[in-house]
C-alpha cells in the first residue's frame, strides 16, 4: 500500500503501557518513542525523516494522563487530553476561553479527536498552534522519568524544529498554569491558505491583564516565524501597562519585526509572514483600547 519510495521504520519492540510508571520504565534507556494520538508521529513514520526509535511505547491508554482539572488556583491538563476535549471542556470554556478558541482553529475534527496537547508540545513544530496560547498563559510542562519529576517553563522549552529540552527518557505527563484572573485578556490569530487543516503560515497569541485600555504583564508569542515559537520580550516590555496610542502601536510593530525571524518557504514568503505578523499585532493592540 505504501508508495515505493516510502519505507516503514524498523521497530524491534512494542509496549502498551498501562500506567505512567510502566511508560517511564519502557522509556528509561532512551531507546523508546512515546506514541499518543499519532497525528504527527504516524504521518512522519514512512517519510524517511520520522523520529521513531526502536521501541514503540503506546501511552494512549494511560488514564493518569487524561483529564482537565482546577486544583488550588491552577489548571492542570493531562498530556493525553485531545484538542477536541479542550474545545468541549466546560471548565476551559468558562475560565480560559483562549484555549477553546485556539482549538477551534486547530486542524479538522478528525485530527482534533486524535491529537493530544502533550504531542503538540513534544513534536516541537515551529508552527504548533496549541503551544502559543499555553506560553501566553505561563504554562509549565511536567516531565517524568525514572530519575526525577521536573517542571520546565514552556516558553524556554523549544530549541529548534523537533528539538526540545526533554531528554530521551522523559515523558510529558501534564501541563499546568495559574487560573487566569477576571481581567485576563487573551487572543489567538492564525493565517493559512484555507480555514481548515491549515498549517499556520503565521500564528500569534497576545495575552495580558487588560485594565482601562492598558495591557499589563503582556505575553506576545508568534508561531511559524522562526525555528521555535518566538516570544517577543522587547515588544512586551514596550507595551507593558502603557496607553495604547497610535505612536506606541507603530513603534511596537517595528520592534516586533526585529524579534521575529521568518523565512521564505513553500508555505509563505518572509515578506508575507512579516506583513501578517504586523497586521495581527496592530489589530489586536487596537482591540485592547
Amino acid at each position: 500500500m505504501l508508495p515505493q519510495n516510502k519505507r516503514p521504520p524498523d521497530i524491534g519492540e512494542y509496549v502498551a503501557a498501562s500506567s505512567v510508571d510502566a511508560a517511564i520504565d519502557a522509556l528509561a534507556d532512551g531507546q523508546g518513542t512515546a506514541l499518543a494520538g499519532g497525528t504527527d508521529l504516524w504521518a512522519q513514520k514512512d517519510s524517511g525523516n520520522g523520529r521513531l526509535r526502536q521501541r514503540l511505547v503506546n501511552i494512549s491508554r494511560v488514564s493518569e494522563l487524561c483529564g482537565i482539572a482546577e486544583v488550588a488556583g491552577k489548571i492542570r491538563i493531562g498530556a493525553l487530553t485531545t484538542i477536541s476535549e479542550i474545545l468541549e471542556s466546560p471548565l476551559l470554556n468558562e475560565k480560559v476561553p483562549l484555549l477553546p478558541q485556539m482549538a477551534n482553529r486547530f486542524a479538522a475534527p478528525q485530527i482534533r479527536n486524535a491529537a493530544t496537547i502533550g504531542g503538540n508540545i513534544a513534536n516541537a513544530s515551529p508552527a504548533a498552534d496549541a503551544v502559543l496560547p499555553l506560553i501566553g498563559l505561563g504554562t509549565s510542562v511536567e516531565l517524568r522519568s525514572k530519575r526525577e519529576t521536573r517542571f520546565l517553563p514552556l516558553s524556554g522549552f523549544f530549541k529548534g524544529p523537533g528539538n526540545t529540552q526533554m531528554t530521551a527518557d522523559e515523558l510529558i505527563t501534564a501541563i499546568e498554569f495559574e487560573t487566569p484572573p477576571g481581567n485576563f485578556h487573551g487572543v489567538f490569530c492564525k493565517s493559512g491558505p484555507r480555514p481548515a487543516l491549515e498549517i499556520s503560515m503565521v500564528a500569534m497569541c497576545l495575552t495580558g491583564l487588560l485594565e482601562g485600555g492598558k495591557l499589563s504583564n503582556p505575553r506576545l508569542v508568534f508561531g511559524a516565524v522562526g525555528p521555535t515559537p518566538i516570544c517577543c520580550e522587547k515588544t512586551e516590555a514596550m507595551i507593558d501597562g502603557k496607553t495604547i496610542s497610535d505612536d506606541l502601536i507603530a513603534s511596537a510593530l517595528d520592534l516586533m519585526a526585529t524579534e521575529i525571524a521568518p523565512i521564505d518557504d513553500f508555505r509563505a514568503s518572509k515578506w508575507y509572514r512579516t506583513q501578517m505578523a504586523r497586521t495581527f499585532l496592530e489589530a489586536e493592540l487596537i482591540a485592547c483600547r
Partner: protein, 158 residues
C-alpha cells in the same frame, strides 16, 4: 519480517482479533486482514478524511491511527452501518440528494456525518460545513453533500 502484535477489538459490533503489524495503520489492517474496502486510502496523511472511521465514539483518520492502538476499542466502519432494516438513514440521504459523484470520498463523508449527528442531531448549515472541514471531495460536489447531511440531520432530529 516486521514485528506484529496480537490485538482484540470490537469491529462493527462483533469481537475480532488480529495479528497487527506494529508499523501498520488501522486503515491497512481494515482493508487488508479484514477485507473491508469501504474505508478509503487517498492522501494517507490526515488531510482528506476518506479513511474516516469511528473509534470509541470519536471520528478518526484511520490512516494516522496505528493498527495496534485498536486493541480493546470499539470500531465502526461504513460496512457496519448496514442492519437488517437496510442501509443507514445517512446513506439514504446521500442517495436521495444525489450527493455522490465518483464516490471515493463518500464513505468518509458518511462516517463523519454519523459522528457529527451523534454529537449534535440538529446541525445548522454552518455546523455542517465546519464539521466536514476535514473531508475533501475531489469532484467538488460539496453542495449536494451538505444538502444530504442537512436532510440526514432533519431525520435524526425527529
Amino acid at each position: 519480517m516486521s514485528l506484529t502484535q496480537k490485538i482484540i477489538f470490537t469491529l462493527n459490533g462483533k469481537p475480532v482479533q488480529a495479528d497487527a503489524q506494529v508499523t501498520a495503520s488501522a486503515l491497512e489492517l481494515l482493508r487488508g486482514a479484514f477485507e473491508l474496502g469501504g474505508t478509503k486510502l487517498a492522501c494517507g496523511e490526515g488531510e482528506c478524511g476518506a479513511c474516516t472511521i469511528i473509534v470509541d465514539g470519536r471520528s478518526r483518520n484511520s490512516c494516522l491511527l496505528p493498527a495496534v492502538d485498536l486493541d480493546g476499542r470499539e470500531v465502526l466502519t461504513v460496512e457496519g452501518l448496514w442492519s437488517e432494516d437496510g442501509i443507514d438513514p445517512v446513506q439514504q440521504a446521500f442517495i436521495d440528494e444525489g450527493a455522490i459523484q465518483c464516490g471515493f470520498c463518500t464513505p468518509g463523508m458518511i462516517m463523519q456525518t454519523k459522528y457529527l449527528l451523534s454529537k449534535n442531531p440538529r446541525m445548522t448549515p454552518e455546523e455542517i460545513e465546519r464539521g466536514l472541514e476535514g473531508n475533501v471531495c475531489r469532484c467538488t460536489g460539496y453542495k449536494k453533500i451538505i444538502s444530504a447531511v442537512a436532510a440526514a440531520s432533519a431525520v435524526a432530529a425527529e
